[in-house]
Structures are given as structure tokens and as C-alpha cells.
């Protein structure tokens, strides 16, 4: 990494601060100016004006927006994310941290499975090029990807839980078999994209000179595959995975709803509809932060891999 790239990295990191700042201000204002009002949601049908005034005072909604924002930043610096108006018993951290943890673990397992299956399928398809097994493999995974999750899930539930009675459906944590169906539903669709990518990558590498050299040298096929092809083909895959990882922390709304998983996808959905200001803001900031970091990392990788991009960026 030359000095130009180091400077580039530092500049991008510095950019992250105002980006996050703008996001926080925009979302903060949007929430308070949008039609939804958490005090309404709390009081419901038994609303009374003086009651509402007291609640607004309690949460600080009666202050001008910029004062509220300053207060929020002050608390944020102390690590206090605010109180959830939907779960009044809990602070925002208490609500979202366990859920983010659940969603992240779930998503991570799904990505690992996707990655493994996808790589295997992609390599297999590449090696099978010229036969019908190549397009068959890819088309199979594309078909799996095409089934919407809210169609696949009830079908799988019906088959595995009701008819075959293999698994239960309630959320029993990661130690129980009930986790299989959600993981299947989460991991299988993504396999297609990874398989295609790996296949193209492997095919490209297969034609490179060093592979032909290795084969010409008489190295066993297995060595050729493992050491030469795999290493070079999989490097760009990291880019793809890197882009997908931050999304994992966001959870999958539909899957969590269908299986009753206490994840952050559902929590975010409910928070947006309530609206639960502090939870929404915390999630947005967290997601943006992850995304910005991931972007920087990937742009760096691009620059390292493709010299043309590096030159262009320096010129620009």
C-alpha cells in the first residue's frame, strides 16, 4: 500500500464522520416532522391532552428540535441511546443489543453456509464446463433463489414440522433443531449469486497461463485445483462477502416474522411503524456506520486488485 493509498484511506475515514453526522441529523428531523407521534401510540384510545403534555415533557418532545438533537448527542457520547417508547420497561440498548446479536449470529451462519455451498457449486460448475452439469447446477441454484421466502417458508414449515414432525417451530435459541428451517430459508437463496461469481472467477483463472504451466508440469489435478485455482479465484469473493456482511446485522424482517425470531429486522419494522424514535435512530446510525466502514474496506480492495481503478482515483 503506497503513500497515495494510505492518504486515500485516511481521507475516506475522515469523510465518514460528516457522513454519519448528516445521516443522524436528517433522520432525527425526519422522525420528528413526520406524521407519526409516539405519544399518540402510547396513550392510544384513552388519549387526553394534559396527559399527552406530561408525556411529551418526559421524553423531551416539547423542546425545539435542535435542542432535542443536542441532548441526544450528549447522551450518545455517554453511551446512552435513549429509552424505547414501545417497550417502556427497557432502554434502547437493552432492546436492540440482544436482538442484533441474534440476527448477526443467524445471518453469519447463513452466510457461511451460502459461501460454502456457493463455492462448492461454483467450482463444480466451472470444472464441469462443457457438459450439461454446469448450467444445470447454476440454474438449479437460480431457481432456488427465485422462490420468494414467504412462499418457501410456509411450504417448508408444513413439510418438516407438521407432516414429518422433525422440527419444532418456536424460537428455542441456537441450540435447538428449530433453527434449521430459518437458516435454510436464509442461506439457500444467496447461494446462487456466490456460485455464479465463483464459477466465473474460476473460469477466468483456469485460462491463465500459470494454470496451464502447472498442468504441463504434470502436477496432480488436485494440487492444481487447490493451490492455484482456488487461491486466485476466491480473492475477489471476499469483496462480495464484505459487502454482504453489514447487511447481516440488519436481520431479515420476513424470516424473523414468519418464524417468530426475536431479531433486529422485526424490531426495526415495529419501531418504524410505532414510531419509536430512539430505536429507529440507533438502528439507522448503527447500520450506516457498518455500511460506511464496509464501503471503505471494499474500495480499498478494489484499488489493490485493479490498478486501473487506482490510477483513475488518483487522477480524479
Amino acid at each position: 500500500m503506497g503513500p497515495g493509498l494510505l492518504g486515500y484511506t485516511v481521507r475516506r475515514l475522515l469523510w465518514a464522520v460528516p457522513v454519519l453526522f448528516i445521516i443522524s441529523v436528517v433522520v432525527f428531523y425526519m422522525l420528528r416532522l413526520a406524521p407519526g407521534d409516539p405519544v399518540d401510540a402510547i396513550l392510544g384510545q384513552r388519549f387526553q391532552e394534559d396527559q399527552a403534555a406530561i408525556l411529551r415533557k418526559k421524553y423531551g418532545y416539547d423542546q425545539p428540535v435542535h435542542i432535542q438533537y443536542l441532548k441526544y448527542i450528549q447522551n450518545l457520547a455517554k453511551g446512552d441511546l435513549g429509552v424505547s417508547t414501545r417497550h417502556q420497561q427497557f432502554t434502547v440498548s437493552e432492546v436492540i443489543i440482544p436482538k442484533i446479536w441474534v440476527s448477526t449470529r443467524l445471518g453469519f451462519i447463513a452466510i457461511v453456509i451460502s459461501f460454502t455451498l456457493g463455492t462448492a457449486a461454483g467450482v463444480y460448475a466451472a470444472l464441469a464446463r462443457g457438459t450439461f452439469l454446469d448450467p444445470l447446477t447454476i440454474s438449479f441454484w437460480l431457481a432456488v433463489d427465485a422462490i420468494p421466502v414467504f412462499v418457501a417458508a410456509p411450504a417448508l414449515m408444513w413439510l418438516f414440522a407438521l407432516k414429518l414432525d422433525l422440527v419444532g417451530l418456536g424460537w428455542r435459541g441456537f441450540a435447538s433443531a428449530n433453527i434449521i428451517l430459518p437458516i435454510l430459508v436464509l442461506s439457500l437463496p444467496g447461494t446462487a449469486g456466490i456460485a455464479r461469481f465463483v464459477r466465473a472467477s474460476v473460469l477466468g483463472v483456469l485460462q491463465e497461463d500459470y494454470v496451464r504451466t502447472a498442468r504441463a508440469k504434470g502436477l496432480p489435478e488436485r494440487t492444481v485445483v487447490l493451490t492455484h485455482i482456488a487461491r486466485n479465484a476466491l480473492l475477489p469473493l471476499i469483496t462480495v462477502i464484505g459487502l454482504a456482511l453489514p447487511g447481516v446485522a440488519g436481520g431479515s424482517l420476513v424470516v424473523e416474522q414468519l418464524f417468530g425470531i426475536p431479531g433486529i429486522g422485526r424490531e426495526g419494522f415495529d419501531a418504524v411503524l410505532a414510531p419509536d424514535f430512539d430505536v429507529i435512530l440507533a438502528l439507522v446510525l448503527f447500520g450506516s456506520f457498518l455500511f460506511v466502514m464496509a464501503n471503505i474496506a471494499i474500495d480499498l480492495l478494489y484499488a489493490v486488485i485493479d490498478p486501473r481503478v487506482r490510477v483513475g482515483a488518483a487522477r480524479g
Partner: protein, 303 residues
């Protein structure tokens, strides 16, 4: 260039399917056997399986499911076309070219904005936007009905407009990224530098040299993203935040039939919309994949 017969056939089948699908969507009133809004609430008429009078059966309100599926294709067709033109074409291509070719602060501005928007949880924000505007739907559609030629369709147009508005801001980011990367690379090519050296205007350089270079991957990107765009609409409708009844859309049709018990007793409710929409996604995936093979040099492509 070995191209396996199977893959080519599959992609061709995909193209044919998409053609049929879009045909149904555009000519829905002609294709649909019955009125998709007509309800018959009686025990004999509702929730019937496929029969001679109702090819795909009826739904809970006695409406002809086949017609509703046809009109649902119209919803998807309109949505994908509108988002394609506004989001991917104008915004994605345009901003990508701009960012890649001009570079400098233009590039930085566009990419940082894309980062900001991309970092926001898309589904949540789409929810927020649609929820915020739903209270205004009737105001907007009434105004449109009175002041424009739209008449009765104003309400549907408004609902569409809201979902499109919620999706387009996020649809351009992927395309822009692809186009920009390509543009960055192409502008260093010898023929581009030569054109610039001989005094060609920027506009000419972009349209004559850069644009043709980015088109292949752009097309690949768009076709790969088509399924995702349509998927967003289907998901929103499924959650009840998209196009809602009585207008037909795949998401709402599926949500009617989803659920293991419903699947067991009235499978046609789920299968009738699920199969076409799954085939739709599959067809786009296949076409996109075939295009990758066709348009990328030596089968290699950059992500």
C-alpha cells in the same frame, strides 16, 4: 466459445416467459377472463379450486383468481418499467457516467451520497416513506383525479407513485457503482485519450466512447437487479405496505394464501400467484446469467 445447449435453451425459455409475462401485463384487460374486482360472497362461490368456469379458482371474496393473477402481472410490469427507466436508466447510468468520467468532487459527492443512502436500512426507510405518505394518498389522488386526465385511475397511480418514490432512491446505487467503475477504467483507454486530445467535447466523448463501453455490464447489472426490484414491490405488498387490495398484486395475493394450514386446504391460493412470480424471478436470473456469458470478455466479470 463453448456454449452449452442447455444453458442457451434455458435462457431462451426465460426470454419467452418474460415476453409472455409482459404481454399479459400490458394487455391485462384483454387477457384476463373476468373482472378481477367482482366479488361473490357466498359459500359456493368463494375459495373454490380450479374449475371450468374459474381456471385458477376463486379467492376469499369469490373473485376470479386467474384474472387477479393477470392484473397482478400488470402491477409488476408497470412497477419494474417505471423503476427501470427512472432509477436505473436515468439515475444509475447518468450518475455513474458522471462520476466515472468527471471524477473529482462530482465523483466524491455522488459516491458519498450513495454511501449515505445505501447505508440506511432500505426496507425500513421504504416502510417509513410509504407509511408517512399513506395518510396523504387520498388527498393526492383526489387532486389528481380532479385536475388531470387520470380520472378513476388516480388512486392507483398515486399508490404506485408512492412505492416507486420509495424504491427509486435506493435502486440507482448498484448501477451507478458498476457504471462508474467501468467508466473509470475505460477513460484511461488509448482511444478515449486520443479523442480528448483531438478536442472532442466531453459530451461526445461520453456518448461515443464511454457509454458503449459501460453498456454491457450495465445491462448485466440491470437484468440481475430486476428480480430484486420486483422483489421489493412484492415484499412491500406482502407486508401490506405496497399496492393493496382491491388492486391485484403478487404480494397481496401471496399473503392471502401463505400459511401452512391455508396451504394444506386451499393450495391454489398460494400456488396461483407464487408460481408465476417465482418463474418471473427465475427468468430474469437466467437472462442475466446468460448475458454475463455473452457480454463479458472470456467469461470473467468484475463484481
Amino acid at each position: 466459445m463453448l456454449r452449452s445447449l442447455l444453458r442457451k435453451k434455458l435462457a431462451m425459455a426465460g426470454v419467452i416467459f418474460l415476453a409472455v409475462f409482459y404481454f399479459c401485463g400490458i394487455f391485462a384487460p384483454l387477457v384476463a377472463p373476468a373482472d378481477p374486482y367482482e366479488q361473490t360472497i357466498s359459500a359456493e362461490a368463494r375459495l373454490q379450486g380450479p374449475s371450468s368456469s374459474h381456471l385458477l379458482g376463486t379467492d376469499r371474496l369469490g373473485r376470479d383468481l386467474a384474472s387477479r393473477v393477470v392484473y397482478a402481472t400488470r402491477t409488476t410490469v408497470v412497477f419494474t418499467v417505471v423503476v427501470l427507466i427512472s432509477g436505473s436508466l436515468f439515475l444509475g447510468l447518468g450518475l455513474g457516467l458522471l462520476a466515472g468520467y468527471r471524477g473529482g468532487w462530482v465523483d466524491t459527492l455522488i459516491m458519498r451520497t450513495g454511501e449515505v443512502m445505501g447505508g440506511l436500512p432500505t426496507l425500513l426507510l421504504m416502510l417509513a416513506i410509504t407509511a408517512a405518505f399513506r395518510t396523504r394518498i387520498n388527498d393526492i389522488s383526489f387532486w389528481l383525479e380532479d385536475h388531470t386526465w387520470l380520472g378513476d385511475d388516480a388512486a392507483t397511480v398515486t399508490k404506485f407513485g408512492i412505492i416507486v418514490m420509495a424504491t427509486v432512491p435506493f435502486a440507482w446505487i448498484g448501477s451507478t457503482r458498476i457504471v462508474r467503475a467501468q467508466a473509470l477504467a475505460i477513460r484511461e483507454e488509448a482511444y478515449v485519450l486520443a479523442a480528448e486530445a483531438t478536442g472532442a467535447s466531453q459530451w461526445r466523448v461520453i456518448t461515443r466512447h464511454i457509454l458503449p463501453g459501460v453498456m454491457p455490464l450495465f445491462i448485466v447489472g440491470v437484468s440481475s437487479g430486476m428480480a430484486g426490484t420486483a422483489g421489493a414491490e412484492v415484499t412491500l405488498s406482502f407486508l401490506g405496505l405496497g399496492i393493496d387490495p382491491p388492486t391485484a398484486s403478487f404480494g397481496s395475493l401471496i399473503s392471502d394464501g401463505a400459511g401452512p394450514q391455508t396451504l394444506e386446504r386451499y393450495p391454489h391460493l398460494l400456488l396461483a400467484p407464487a408460481i408465476p412470480v417465482a418463474l418471473f424471478f427465475f427468468a430474469w436470473n437466467l437472462v442475466g446469467d446468460a448475458l454475463v456469458d455473452l457480454l463479458s470478455p472470456r467469461g470473467q466479470h468484475s463484481a
